[in-house]
C-alpha cells in the first residue's frame, strides 16, 4: 500500500501539516475544497482518500456517498478524520460509515508525537487493505437478489431494466429512491417471514 497515491482533503492548515507529517515519504496529493475532490480523484486516481471532517457536514456526507458510488471506476478506501471526540461523534461516524467510509478516526486519540504519528499512520494505511464497505443501498440490492432468486427476477420485481440493476450492483450509481424502497421491502418481508417461522 505504501506505493499507492493518497489524496488528503482538509481545509485547516494545522491538520494538513499533521497529516502530511504522519504520511511522510508517501505520495500525497492535497485538495483543500470539497468541490475539488471529484477532479482530484479523476486526475490522481488515489488508492486512499483521507478526508478531514472540518467541512460542512451534509456536503461531506454527500461527497462520501458520491465517491462510494464511484468505487467501480475509482476503487479506493475512504478514511474520515474527525477533529476531536465530542458528542454526538457516534452519530457522525454512523453517517459517514453509512455513506461508505471505510474507516473513521478521531484525530485527538493520537498524540502529535513520533509514536502517536506512527500509530496513526498504521491505522490510516490499514484502511487501504480493507475491502471497501458497501453502502446500505448496495447491500439491500445484493440481499434482494438472493431473496428474489437472481438478478433477472429482481429486475422484473422492481420493474427496472436488468442492465440498470447490474450497473447499480456493480456500484455504478444508485437506483431511484422508489426502486430502493421496493427492494428493501422485499428484504424486510423476508426478515418478517423468518421471524414468524416456527422454531
Amino acid at each position: 500500500m505504501d506505493t499507492a497515491k493518497i489524496l488528503v482533503v482538509a481545509n485547516a492548515p494545522g491538520i494538513l501539516q499533521r497529516v502530511e507529517e504522519t504520511l511522510a515519504g508517501l505520495e500525497v496529493e492535497v485538495a483543500i475544497r470539497l468541490r475539488d475532490v471529484g477532479a482530484a480523484v479523476s486526475k490522481h486516481d488515489p488508492g486512499l482518500l483521507v478526508l478531514y471532517l472540518g467541512f460542512e457536514q451534509q456536503s461531506t456526507v454527500e461527497l462520501v456517498a458520491y465517491l462510494s458510488g464511484e468505487l467501480e471506476r475509482h476503487p479506493m478506501a475512504i478514511v474520515c478524520l474527525a477533529p476531536e471526540s465530542k458528542v454526538p461523534m457516534s452519530e457522525l461516524e454512523a453517517q459517514m460509515r453509512a455513506a461508505g467510509a471505510t474507516e473513521f478516526i478521531v484525530l485527538a486519540d493520537y498524540p502529535r508525537t513520533p509514536k502517536g504519528n506512527d500509530v496513526l499512520r498504521k491505522r490510516i494505511l490499514s484502511a487501504a487493505s480493507q475491502p471497501p464497505r458497501a453502502t446500505p443501498v448496495l447491500r439491500v440490492l445484493r440481499r434482494a437478489v438472493q431473496i428474489a432468486g437472481g438478478q433477472q427476477k429482481l429486475a422484473a420485481h422492481l420493474d427496472v431494466a436488468e442492465p440498470d440493476l447490474r450497473r447499480w450492483l456493480a456500484g455504478e450509481g444508485e437506483p431511484p429512491e422508489t426502486v430502493f424502497l421496493l427492494a428493501f421491502d422485499l428484504v424486510l418481508m423476508d426478515l418478517e417471514r423468518g421471524a414468524r417461522k416456527p422454531s
Binding site: 456526507v61 453517517q95 453509512a98 453502502t135 446500505p136 443501498v137 424486510l188 426478515l191 418478517e192 421471524a195
Partner: protein, 65 residues
C-alpha cells in the same frame, strides 16, 4: 391501512437491537421520533432511513452467524 415500509423498518430495527430506546441510543435519535415513525405519523428522512437499514442489515447478518 397497512404500515409503510418506513414504519416496518424502524419497528424491525428496534426489535433486532432490543427496543425503541436502544435504537434511539444507538443512532443518537430522539425517542419521540422513533415512536412517531413507527406509528406512521411521520417518516424518517432518507439519510435516517439508511442508518436504520444499516442496523437491520448488520443485526440480521449477525443473527445468521
Amino acid at each position: 391501512m397497512s404500515p409503510s415500509v418506513h414504519s416496518r423498518a424502524v419497528r424491525k430495527a428496534a426489535e433486532l437491537i432490543g427496543g425503541r430506546q436502544a435504537l434511539a441510543d444507538r443512532l443518537d435519535l430522539a425517542r419521540p421520533d422513533i415512536d412517531a415513525w413507527i406509528a406512521d405519523e411521520r417518516r424518517p428522512a432518507l439519510a435516517e432511513l439508511l442508518r436504520i437499514v444499516e442496523v437491520i442489515l448488520d443485526e440480521s447478518e449477525a443473527h445468521l452467524d
